[in-house]
């Protein structure tokens, strides 16, 4: 497939976000190279959602700045898309229309192609209400990619899916990311998922990035290996604030 432009680099420089006296993020620095897939993990309340909204341009930092391809971000970026936790399909539009939402004429044909790619071409004329949770997230994924985003944010998109559907979705996300040159940032509290999908895992804690693990495993990833389990265990131990233990 031909795409007009590749992934974009994403940076957060000295970002601070306070809500009144409550400081959620402070002096946060972050750099994601173009085409890289990074996961940010953290416990609930660590500011993951706040960071996601800042990176998406849905919210502005109190101080510091977010840069997309080196340019300071002010408001929404036309090349950024978000895969939301709950899909957020429009219930009154058919699946095909949902995928084509907001596409310009040049990208219109992407919709049918991506719907086919996620295996739901036959459901184009259905309303989202009759789809299963996993199917809805596949439609949302197709919609996000139809716009040929340079930067795709994943907001715990698989959190509400059952275990099998989750594994399927993880494979699909990995495949699609390898096919296309977008920059991915996954925000999650699921360490195993982070290690499965990302090139690097970052820990968000106390308002900043506090630790970083490269994930060296070749793709497509086999999640059953002892090395994989050890890395997951190590990250999890750090997230929970106890020393990593080998099992």
């Amino acid at each position: 497939m031909s795409f007009a432009a590749g992934g974009v680099s994403v940076e957060a420089v000295g970002v601070r976000r306070a809500f009144g006296p409550h400081v959620v993020l402070d002096r946060l620095n972050l750099r994601v190279a173009a085409g890289e897939f990074v996961a940010i993990v953290g416990r609930s309340g660590s500011g993951k959602s706040t960071l996601l909204r800042l990176l998406a341009g849905l919210d502005q930092p109190t101080a510091g700045e977010v840069r997309i391809d080196g340019r300071p971000l002010a408001g929404l970026s036309p090349r950024t898309r978000v895969l939301f936790q709950d899909g957020r399909l429009l219930p009154w539009l058919r699946v095909g229309e949902n995928v084509a939402l907001g596409l310009d004429d040049r990208r219109r044909e992407n919709a049918a192609r991506l719907l086919e790619r996620v295996g739901l071409a036959t459901r184009a004329a259905d309303y989202p209400g009759v789809l299963s949770g996993g199917q809805r997230q596949r439609v949302a994924l197709a919609r996000a990619l139809a716009a040929e985003p340079g930067f795709l944010l994943f907001d715990e998109p698989l959190g509400s899916l059952d275990a099998l559907t989750r594994v399927e979705m993880q494979r699909l996300v990995e495949e699609l990311w390898r096919e296309r040159p977008f920059t991915g940032v996954l925000i999650t509290h699921d360490v195993a998922e982070a290690v499965t999908l990302a090139d690097r895992v970052l820990l968000l804690e106390g308002g900043g990035i506090r630790a970083e693990w490269p994930v060296p495993f070749p793709r497509p990833r086999a999640t059953g290996s002892p090395d994989f389990a050890r890395l997951v265990e190590g990250v999890l131990g750090r997230v929970l604030g106890r020393p990593a233990q080998m099992t």
């Binding site: 849905l58 929404l76 978000v82 219930p91 009154w92 539009l93 699946v95 309303y127 209400g129």
Partner: protein, 267 residues
């Protein structure tokens, strides 16, 4: 088949009992004429052209008032529902006016417009305006904010956001308002026509009362019931047509997989 007929069983039994009671003299026809007599009155008035004329007049008043009231209510509701500035400017005033029962305006309306058409149309329009306004406003204000945020991220401009997200999101509530307004429409018309009119179904009933024609009075009441039911049917049809995605109307998966509705024609 039997399922479709079940709701009509009770009315039928009541009708038969009513006819029998009248025929056997248990019920004075002065108090309540038998259904057959009412039917005969209907046939006679239809043949003379009187009934169609009054029905037509009532219908025209209802429709004119409804269209005016709904249009204004919708416009105001869309305005205050989508713009904080319009909401601050207008909502308090509209909510204040809403607390006045519109039928309390009758004496004033007669002073302003006399007993002509304008008075009835005005009253219906005022009665219809508020339920439509309230539900439209409420509908827009309760559209899922997550979907609005999604729309912004997915590069929808202001008009696209309105057309794709806000309006369809508010529509179920708008239609609740319309349905309620249809009820208000008939109620207002009945009251207005019985108090000050020289034509219309309400006038027909009041005029018949003076001549002790109980059959015509009962006929008029039944006509109102019929018209009300008809309006409700139209509202339901509208809901079905406009909200095909709604869980209340959504078709089973097999029926929804219509080959004519393939994605090609949608894009």
């Amino acid at each position: 088949m039997s399922r479709a007929l079940t709701p009509w069983l009770l009315p039928l039994v009541l009708l038969l009992a009513w006819q029998a009671a009248g025929k056997l003299g248990w019920l004075s026809t002065r108090v309540l004429p038998t259904p057959l007599e009412v039917g005969r009155a209907g046939v006679k008035l239809t043949a003379s052209g009187e009934l169609p004329r009054h029905l037509g007049v009532s219908f025209a008043r209802a429709a004119a008032g409804f269209v005016i009231g709904t249009t204004l209510g919708l416009a105001l509701g869309v305005l205050t529902g989508t713009s904080r500035r319009a909401e601050r400017l207008l909502d308090t005033s509209v909510q204040m006016l809403r607390t006045i029962p519109h039928l309390a305006l009758i004496p004033l309306v007669i002073l302003w417009f006399g007993v002509g058409e304008a008075a009835k149309v005005f009253l219906v329009a005022v009665g219809v305006l508020f339920p439509v306004y309230l539900n439209t406003y409420h509908g827009f204000r309760t559209v899922d904010s997550g979907l609005i945020e999604m729309g912004r991220v997915y590069a929808l401009g202001r008009w696209q956001l309105f057309r794709r997200v806000l309006w369809p999101g508010a529509l179920p509530s708008v239609l609740v308002g319309v349905r309620y307004a249809l009820g208000v429409m008939w109620l207002t018309l009945i009251v207005a026509e019985t108090i000050a009119a020289t034509s219309g179904v309400g006038y027909l009933a009041m005029n018949a009362r003076e001549f002790l024609r109980t059959d015509v009075v009962v006929l008029s009441i039944l006509l109102y019931a019929l018209l009300g039911k008809l309006a409700d049917g139209v509202a339901r049809l509208l809901e079905r047509r406009l909200l095909p995605w709604h869980p209340a109307f959504v078709q089973p998966i097999a029926a929804a997989a219509n080959p004519d509705d393939s994605v090609g024609s949608e894009l």
